[in-house]
């Protein structure tokens, strides 16, 4: 089993990367290395596995067997702990120029293992203009052993100066059968559950995994799909919004409970014994930065959870529309076919479109930092039947 097996439904892309790995090996053994590229931009919809593709490539470059998936190099590269693989993931809204300058410096270092220095930037769409400027020179005239892997939802999300200097890799939305096969073969999920999770995830592999493995996630989804037919009067709309908001809030608390204290502990460890009594220089500032980041992450988890629910709602109305227009496609939410059917009969395609617009508007509002509960209430009132 190789590192490429992780790239679900991305055969063409895996092919390109395999060729690049072969060219890289050629260059290491003194050949021309034609076909090896040192700056890549990996794009694809959320959940399609941008970061996975970039890590697989990083592993294959470090592995002596071109990505066996078994050796120490492969393991550590996939995890992001390999000494010559730098993973840049951020919970912040932008990647600052200082951290990019630091990256550029470390990327130029000759790798200790004599192979490649790989930098994976997971949210290249969050590079500021200054950060992009700091990065440009390194992209244009890379050190001979440096490989940049930038990831973003679409190429348009990345500043054009950066984009134009990268080779583009586009991930497809993986098909339900490809996800089903992965869940069955790799995770040992029963066929029926895997097929359901693949369908319900709408091509989002992380979500498919959660749906397949976590009963709470399946239950939550079921609750969400019950919402549309429940919105009969004002009170029901308010209740639906409040419940969804509460679930998202709990999710945020959950992340806080598992991560926050550990991170504070790690920070204390860095500053040593004097951190706690406030004598360590720089510790209070570092702690307050960490707390700010943690609170931002909590907010983000809440918003992400709500967004996930809105995507489920959207798929519900898309199913309603499919029935109303007689389109012959499989329903994403087949398990609530009765509800979908009843809404389809009760309203027109026009009203369904209006509801979909309300959901989209709510997603945008949430992304634009709207008060989440209020935005949900406003949407639920629009969805009322």
């Amino acid at each position: 089993m190789s590192v490429w097996d992780d790239l679900i439904g991305q055969e063409p892309l895996a092919h390109t990367l395999r060729e690049a790995v072969a060219a890289a090996r050629d260059r290491l053994s003194g050949g021309s290395g034609r076909g090896m590229t040192s700056a890549w931009l990996v794009t694809g919809p959320p959940g399609s596995g941008r970061s996975n593709a970039a890590r697989a490539f990083a592993a294959a470059l470090q592995c002596r067997d071109g990505g066996c998936g078994q050796c120490h190099d492969c393991h550590t590269a996939l995890l992001g702990t390999h000494p010559n693989v730098t993973l840049v993931a951020t919970d912040r809204l932008s990647i600052g120029v200082d951290s990019v300058r630091e990256l550029v410096r470390s990327a130029a270092l000759m790798p200790a293992n004599g192979r490649w220095q790989v930098v994976v930037v997971e949210d290249a769409d969050r590079l500021t203009e200054d950060s992009a400027d700091a990065l440009l020179k390194s992209l244009e005239e890379p050190s001979p052993r440096t490989v940049w892997m930038l990831c973003a939802p679409t190429a348009e999300d990345v500043l054009v100066t950066v984009r134009s200097r990268c080779r583009l890799l586009v991930l497809r939305t993986p098909s339900p059968p490809a996800i089903t096969r992965m869940l069955v073969d790799r995770d040992g999920v029963p066929e029926v559950v895997a097929a359901f999770a693949a369908r319900a995830s709408q091509g989002h592999i992380g979500r498919a995994r959660r749906l397949a493995h976590d009963e709470a996630t399946r239950n939550r989804r079921r609750e969400i799909l019950r919402i549309p037919t429940s919105l009969i009067e004002l009170g029901a709309c308010m209740v639906a919004a409040a419940n969804l908001h509460e679930v998202a809030q709990e999710e945020g608390q959950g992340v806080a409970a598992t991560l926050d204290a550990k991170e504070v502990g790690d920070l204390e460890a860095i500053y040593g014994a004097s951190a706690r009594d406030g004598r360590a220089r720089g510790y209070p500032g570092a702690l307050s930065t960490l707390k700010k980041d943690q609170s931002k992450r909590r907010t983000r988890v809440v918003r992400d959870t709500i967004d996930g629910a809105l995507i489920d709602l959207l798929s519900f109305y898309r199913d309603v529309l499919a029935l109303q227009t007689g389109a012959r496609t499989a329903l994403v939410n087949d398990e609530v076919r009765a509800d979908i059917d009843s809404l389809a009969r009760r309203g027109s395609a026009d009203s369904t479109l209006r509801r979909m617009e309300a959901v989209l508007k709510c997603r945008e509002a949430i992304a634009a930092n709207a008060a989440p509960l209020l935005a949900l209430e406003s949407m639920m009132l629009d969805l009322r039947v």
């Binding site: 009067e233 009170g235 308010m238 406003s378």
Partner: protein, 336 residues
């Protein structure tokens, strides 16, 4: 401290002895006018504790009333006559009043109160020409003079306050002079002889911005458009964050919407939980709900959601977004 603010302060500049004079108090700041009236009353009673006091609205004065009211009374030697709402004085009594002002009775203190504005201006001019004993202009202080007003109030009660503390107090309490004066007195009583610092004032008035936001929301929900807009402008002018205002509206309408669909016959404690409001709010929520339909609440909530988005950067002018929200919510009341 500006001279203007000092002039507004509680301690009067030395006033002429009130008996035998006419005091004209003109200006829209009712609190300051009333304070000036009180000052004359206390000055008179300092001279003669048994002095008679007559208070009357100018509209009630007929021909001959001036002579009657200012004639020496049988039992008291001195008396004070306070005439309010001077613009309402009937035309026919103008001459009488001006004549009296030119030659006031020795044992009478006449106080004339004019609420400001153009009405009755000719009468004012004529009175001024008689060479009045004392003229007080009760102009409300400009916003930037309010901290000075607060400081003067504090000084009057023999306390001291730092500049930033006075500013914070204004931001927390608002522009209402009566409230500011009361707050200043309260603070001095509670903390004197300590100098009033911003920490003290903040400890005392924390959360006030929230309270103000709820006042705006309540006014809009009650359909009092002018009051709501006035309070909104005050809040915006005093640095109350826009999100506090939208969230107060959201919370007010949310409680109404939940109350409307709450099961009947719940005990108050359960209802409060269902509605998500403190129990003491239930009574006023019930009152508000009588004027609200489900469709209006829907419109209101959606208007607030839009405003929330607008003030967070979607719209060019957040103040306008909030004003529109106030209007939309107020108009959504009571309509089907």
């Amino acid at each position: 401290m500006s001279a203007a603010a000092d002039m507004l302060a509680a301690m009067p500049a030395p006033t002429p002895p009130p008996l035998g004079t006419v005091t004209l108090i003109a200006g829209p700041a009712e609190f300051l006018s009333e304070r000036a009236v009180a000052r004359v009353l206390s000055a008179v009673s300092a001279i003669d504790a048994d002095a008679d006091v007559t208070q009357i609205d100018a509209g009630a004065l007929g021909p001959g009333a001036m002579a009657e009211l200012t004639s020496p009374s049988l039992f008291a030697t001195a008396q004070t006559l306070v005439v309010r709402e001077l613009p309402d004085l009937p035309e026919g009594v103008h001459d009488e009043l001006v004549a009296y002002a030119a030659e006031p009775a020795a044992d009478v203190a006449l106080v004339l109160v004019h609420p400001g504005g153009p009405k009755g201006k000719r009468l004012l001019d004529r009175l001024r020409q008689t060479g009045l004993g004392h003229v007080v202009t009760s102009e409300p202080p400009k916003p930037w003079e309010l901290p000075g007003f607060v400081a003067a109030e504090v000084r009057h009660h023999r306390g001291t306050i730092t500049e930033d503390a006075a500013e914070f107090l204004v931001a927390a309490v608002g522009t209402d002079l009566r409230a500011l004066a009361a707050a200043a007195e309260q603070l001095v009583n509670d903390f004197s002889p300590e100098r009033l610092t911003i920490e003290i004032v903040r400890r005392y008035y924390d959360g006030h911005a929230e309270v103000k936001s709820f006042d705006i929301a309540d006014a809009a929900i009650d359909g009092q458009i002018a009051v709501a807009l006035e309070r909104l402008r005050w809040a915006l002018g005093n640095g109350v964050p826009a999100v506090l205002i939208t969230s107060a509206f959201a919370s007010g309408l949310r409680s109404l919407a939940r109350m409307q669909s709450a099961p009947r016959g719940l005990r108050d404690a359960d209802l409060a939980r269902e509605v998500g409001a403190p129990p003491f709010r239930l009574k006023s929520l019930r009152g508000q709900l009588r004027s609200w339909e489900g469709s209006g609440l829907t419109r209101g909530i959606q208007a607030v959601a839009q405003a929330d988005l607008d003030v967070k950067g979607g719209a060019g002018d957040p103040d306008y977004a909030l004003e529109r929200m106030v209007l939309t919510v107020a108009w959504a009341r009571g309509r089907r």
